[in-house]
Amino acid sequence: MKWEERLLVRRLNRGDATALSEVYERCRDDLLRLAGAMLHDGPAAEDIVQDVFVAFAGSARTFRLTGSLKGYLATCVANAARNRLKAAARRKTTDLDAVTNLASPGEPPDTWMVFSEQFERVADAMADLPAEQREVIALHVYGDMAFREIAQWQQASIKTVQSRYRYGLDKLRSALNDEVAR
């Protein structure tokens, strides 16, 4: 996979616009799910992922890949999601939806993505997890990031990250008991 990503980046560096579409198609759904799982807020997730994609497109000509491309984009989304949550926490009297609307004033009102019922249940369950556990699960499952990479991002040890993942999954398993049993 990394081979394809390196070639994609090389094509992007050379000005191949079709490579940009390939990156988009490879990563779009997982990044949206990653943001959706972290924020439990569809419009906010859309804003973040769109901003990440557009920023990436603007720098793609000079972009240098040092790890996984999807992991890089997932980290960008996770950073933005974390910042969004912190900003929302600081404005305790401001509804998160209002913050979202302020973030992209020029966007048309129709939504980019709709959660399936199953994803809605997953996002509900994820919302009840501690933030660190939610991040680890979202980055590992939807960002395809290794625990080692997540540990660097969270500035924690790999064992801590693995524990967060395990505990988080245990809670999700209880919350999504019907889904798991299917």
Partner: protein
Amino acid sequence: MKPNDEIERVLKEASIEINNAADQRVRDRMQQAYQHSTQAGGWRPKTVTLHASRFTLRAAAAVILLALGVLVGQFGSMLSGGSVAWAEVAQRFQTIPFFSATIYMKQDATAEPRQMELWMSRDGRARARLGRQIVFGRRGQVIQAFDVESRRPVEPDGVAVFFLQKLGEAEVFSLETVIRVMFGRQMHDVTPLVNPDAVISQDVVVFDLDLPDTSEWVRIWALRESRLPIRIRVWDPSDGQVTDAILEYSTEQAAEFFDPSAFEDLDQ
């Protein structure tokens, strides 16, 4: 199935639906940002772009070395008066009308290797298998790619495209160009020498192409009696990235072997 697998499956299967109109707007914004950066930044020199992906370059270097009709000749002329054995290897390879190679690419010491099979005739016809794809090429251009089982046309794998293009470029590349573009080094610093320590038997001779100011090097194994190169390795011991090419020789394949139409029609 482990318990984690079940809950992970539930998470992975939880899907979203995409609004096509909104999706197109995002794509348009991305393309605009990309085009704007292209106009602002201009085209980068090819050497800089190639230098960006070291592993890709190493693989390309190996595959270009495979086109030894150019490179072995260059080495040979370079080494006139030097290693007689290498000059003989160079001359012998140039008489070969057809060769095949199995290429293994590893991104680091612990990575699983990716395998590619390559068949190439001296007139520039090429056929490659990479994963589930068979890719046909001619003089550096991909003609068509097929799924190996269904024989239906598919989008060619980017790696195969890159390799076949590099093979085509090799026809006009000199060694100096390859070294400069691929490794950023000048030819006068590069001399493949017989490595007596690496000779594993009386039948094999080993040449090392050591690149100054870099940990990367190229090793070429050749048969003493036939003078044919049988293996090429491009390796960076600092991180274990390696491209290995095992060369084989046989009678030339029939023209149909390199013909995408013949491949597509075989079962129809």
